[in-house]
């Protein structure tokens, strides 16, 4: 993992003290809310329906056991004993008191964490594959590049007041688990004919009010130019992005209105001027950062682990869990274990302080003290010996963290919605809970197979509903919650935006509608066909017929 040196630490410490002074001025009445709001937002502090909400950055989803324990402590001491993992691989606390935030930030700084740029119109947390460093199919560990981007994008003097927020995602695998095509900038590592690794650069993807899939503006960017190229994109956007209309301010609108080719040309012209300047990344710098992400001290193990195979054979529950929640590892004898934060009837992404402490201990025991957060709001232990999986599973079960549903119907992405969020138009969590209850039968869940349901409580789409195989958007119709259903979205390398099936559904009807869609799929799918594949083959019609019988 990356560790702060004295410079990283100094920056975060100075930032805490700066915010402490600002909070004091606010509480003393020297600053009005209008003046204070932009300052608190720069530190991830929102004012929501019940209290302040603090969003804490988890850089590219990497957490140490020590950090997770600190989050558990903050949840207990300053919040109501739980936190919520977001689709940006961050964590937010919903019940924070303004007067305590300086102390919270100081405690976070002790473990190299903060809330800087988790809101506001600048760079947000750069996200990546939750299996980074462990996935068998990665070209390189994406975390080095995320860290390089993190440093460059932290308190950037030129780009701290962009037209709108800005999200970057990086993937280094052919199968994209980081949804890079629906980001302001998506970076996908490729190898060219000369055998060098570089990035395909996509811009203008995004969700929200006007969703777009990103457009490729450069097929291959040599690694040493990563930062200068990003700077060129941002400089074009900062100057030309719309500032007259909040809803048209994201880079996706600029790319669409300018045209991809012309936009690419503007970027290339800007880049020509700066590519050989101070932002060039010397190979030593890339290597220096990469050394932080060196593989842990693996044991030399056989790929075959008889005691593990035996446990699978004798315990069907364990077998089921392994089938859905365990992912192959690049190191022989090791595995990636997914911890589901989607228990039946629970809030997707929520975790109690007790669970955090317990997982921190398990990470120390079984995963070199490392934990990952996925954009699908689950946790990952990235380096578990296959021989340890059974004991891990046995300990996760009583914690409620072993639901074998990763990638299945009840593994729902869900934003906080109207239960917490000041911008919401409808609740989202109760819908997720009800779906998970409706589909609590494991046989049925496995029979349906891989499907991604994503729920947002308003058009801002924090729950990524546009790119759910099944997407649900909560709206308000004359004071009543109602839900729009979209089908056919996907966030991976074949990204697509879902289409609205038809008239929306009331809160009482929406879960039935989801069930109808899934039943329809099961009745018409070809052998071995996933939901999204069936949808792409047959289109909307059969689903419509099921949902709106004449």
């Amino acid at each position: 993992m990356y560790r702060y040196d004295e410079f990283d630490r100094r920056l975060v410490d100075e930032r805490v003290e700066q915010f402490r002074r600002q909070v004091k001025r606010r509480l003393d009445g020297e600053l009005s809310e209008d003046q204070f709001k932009p300052l608190r937002l720069l530190n991830g502090l929102y004012l929501q329906l019940h209290a302040y909400m603090l969003r804490i950055a988890i850089p590219y989803g990497c957490l140490s056991a020590i950090q997770l324990r600190k989050l558990a402590h903050i949840g207990r001491r300053y919040d109501k004993g739980y936190g919520h993992f977001t689709t940006r691989q961050n964590l937010q606390f919903h019940w924070i008191k303004l007067e305590e935030t300086p102390d919270i930030l100081a405690e976070l700084a002790e473990v190299e964490m903060h809330g800087i740029q988790t809101s506001g119109n600048s760079f947000r947390n750069t996200t990546t594959d939750q299996y980074a460093g462990a996935a068998a199919d990665e070209l390189e560990d994406p975390r080095s590049y995320c860290e390089i981007i993190r440093q460059w994008s932290t308190l950037h003097p030129e780009f701290s007041f962009l037209p709108r927020k800005f999200k970057i995602a990086v993937t280094t695998t052919p199968h994209d688990r980081a949804a890079v095509k629906v980001h302001d900038i998506g970076l996908r590592m490729l190898r060219n004919e000369a055998g060098e690794n570089g990035f395909e650069v996509m811009v203008g993807g995004g969700l929200g009010r006007t969703p777009f899939v990103g457009k490729v503006i450069r097929d291959f960017l040599p690694k040493q130019h990563l930062l200068s190229y990003l700077e060129a994109i941002l400089r074009v956007y900062n100057q030309l992005g719309r500032r007259d209309n909040l809803f048209k301010a994201r880079i996706k609108i600029l790319v669409q209105q300018t045209g991809t080719e012309k936009f690419a040309k503007l970027v290339e012209e800007e880049w020509e001027q700066i590519k050989d300047g101070a932002l060039q990344l010397p190979r030593e710098e890339i290597e220096r950062i990469a050394s932080y992400f060196a593989p842990p001290s693996y044991e030399e193990l056989d790929a075959q682990v008889p005691e593990f195979e035996a446990k699978i054979a004798e315990n069907p529950d364990f077998q089921t869990w392994v089938k859905t929640n365990v992912f192959p590892h690049k190191q022989p004898g090791y595995a990636i274990a997914n911890l589901s934060l989607k228990p039946v009837g629970g809030t997707p992404g929520d975790m109690s302080s007790e669970q955090m402490d317990a997982v921190a201990d398990l990470a120390d025991l079984y995963s070199f003290g490392e934990i990952r957060v996925s954009h699908r709001q689950n946790l990952v232990l990235p380096y578990v010996k296959r021989a340890d999986l059974y004991s891990l599973w046995e300990q996760l079960s009583p914690l409620g963290l072993a639901t074998p549903n990763i990638g299945l119907t009840s593994d729902i992405i869900c934003c906080p919605g109207l239960d917490y969020c000041g911008l919401a138009t409808a609740r989202s969590i109760p819908i997720a809970e009800e779906i998970s209850e409706r589909f609590d039968d494991l046989d049925r869940l496995h029979e349906i197979g891989e499907v991604e349901i994503k729920i947002s409580g308003c058009i801002n789409a924090c729950g990524h509903h546009h790119v759910g195989h099944i997407g649900i958007l909560g709206l308000d119709k004359a004071g009543e919650e109602f839900y729009q259903l979209t089908l056919g979205g996907a966030a991976d390398e074949d990204a697509s935006l879902g289409k609205v099936v038809g008239p929306g559904f009331s809160g009482d009807e929406i879960v039935d509608a989801v069930e109808t869609v899934l039943d329809t799929y099961v009745s018409i799918r070809d052998e071995g066909e996933r939901f999204i594949e069936t949808f792409r083959r047959v289109g909307m019609a059969p689903f419509k017929e099921g949902l709106y019988p004449k």
């Binding site: 509480l27 019940h50 303004l98 109207l418 609740r427």
Partner: protein, 97 residues
């Protein structure tokens, strides 16, 4: 329709209501209910002054239904603010009474 004033308390961000004595209270049952538009304006005026004293943030009037002792906001959003998250009935005001 009767109305009450809701706001966020500056120090801790908790949803609060203006009561008969011009103080901010946690339970909507204890809030001052304005029965007319002019009375609504009057309590909003008092809320704005409190905002200027930097005690609360973002006060506004909400429609409520009064039924004996019980006061219930009309909109879902305000019902949730007054009570707490619907999926965590152990939290918020709903847990205390």
């Amino acid at each position: 329709m009767p109305q009450a004033v809701i706001a966020s308390r500056l120090r801790d961000g908790r949803a609060v209501f203006l009561d008969r004595n011009g103080r901010w209270v946690e339970f909507i049952q204890d809030s001052r209910i304005a029965q007319s538009e002019p009375e609504g304006e009057e309590i909003m005026e008092s809320a704005r002054r409190s905002e200027e004293r930097q005690e609360i943030v973002d006060p506004y009037l909400i429609d409520v239904v009064v039924d004996g002792e019980a006061v219930r906001p009309v909109l879902n959003r305000e019902i949730i603010r007054a009570a707490g998250p619907t999926i965590r009935t152990d939290l918020g005001r709903q847990a205390k009474r």
